[in-house]
Amino acid sequence: MRATVLVRPKTGIRDPQGEAIRGSLAGLGYPVSEVSAGKIFDLEVDTDDAAEAERVARETAGRVLANELIEGFEVVVG
């Protein structure tokens, strides 16, 4: 079963990647004042149980995929 983990920089944490992209978008003339760059992890969890897929995704997100000092995450199953 597919579980997707979305990792975003926490509010207030400097995001040099997002700043660089925002600068380029502004240079192209787009009306974009803020860009925050995160990460997406698509996990194929070896189960047919949505609750188990979510449990595995949450555990890997908290332990490995995100560092909660600087990042927040959400999990989408299915």
Binding site: I13, R14, P16, A20, N67, L69
Partner: protein, 212 residues
């Protein structure tokens, strides 16, 4: 002296230990065996290609479990650059390393100011300045405001950059754990041990390992 997949300063670190009179024992990330060493050094580099976050994957290698046990027993552990990143990700040191706010890789000598007396800094008094090179793209140490004053009060903040360099919280360059036996920094003391290359201030930190 641990070699991870992607370590690149392990040979320099080995030589630095020998310059200050120690014997460097090569250790391999895939073995949970410290071979009876008296001190552990995690060198700089780009373990696991810096994928995910710097140090985030190396922290799960077999040897890191042995390093955690060694640190818990009070053994001296020094992490330099990528080694510092690994120790932070492993939770053996406070904070985390994030991309330089300058968005550039920085490679140059920096002046560091001693913030607290520590065996890691020999007899250098608070306020003294030392010169050690940095070379990193993800060297901005970050720690939330909560708990920062406690680190300072505990004497866990050993060195600050003399001037703004990479965006680190409060210009902090070097921290220890609460017990003081685990130390990490982004600057490279192992590159500052030979007069031929300028400063020899790096010997201070490496000497603690050799003396163990």
């Amino acid at each position: 002296m641990i070699t991870f997949l992607g370590s690149l300063d392990d040979r320099d670190a080995q030589r630095a230990v020998e310059v200050v009179g120690g014997e460097a024992v090569p250790l391999w990330h895939g073995e949970a065996d410290l071979k009876g060493v008296d001190a552990v050094l995690l060198p700089g580099g780009f373990s696991y290609g810096d994928h995910l976050r710097c140090g985030a994957l190396a922290r799960f290698t077999p040897i890191m479990a042995a390093v955690a046990d060694f640190a818990a027993q009070g053994g001296p552990v020094l992490g330099i650059c990528n080694g510092f990143q690994i120790l932070c990700e492993a939770g053996l040191l406070p904070g985390v390393l994030t991309p330089n706010h300058t968005r550039r890789f920085i490679c140059r000598d920096v002046d560091l100011v001693v913030q607290a007396a520590s065996p890691w800094l020999g007899d250098r008094p608070v306020g003294a300045s030392i010169t050690v090179p940095i070379k990193h793209g993800d060297g901005a140490w970050y720690h939330p405001d909560a708990g920062l004053a406690e680190l300072e009060a505990n004497g866990q903040i050993l060195l600050r950059y003399a001037e703004e360099v990479n965006g680190a919280t409060d210009r902090i360059a070097c921290v220890t754990n609460a017990a003081g036996n685990v130390c990490g920094l982004m600057p490279h003391p192992e590159h500052a041990v030979d007069p031929l290359l300028g400063s020899i201030d790096g010997r201070l930190l490496v000497r603690r390992l050799a003396a163990a």
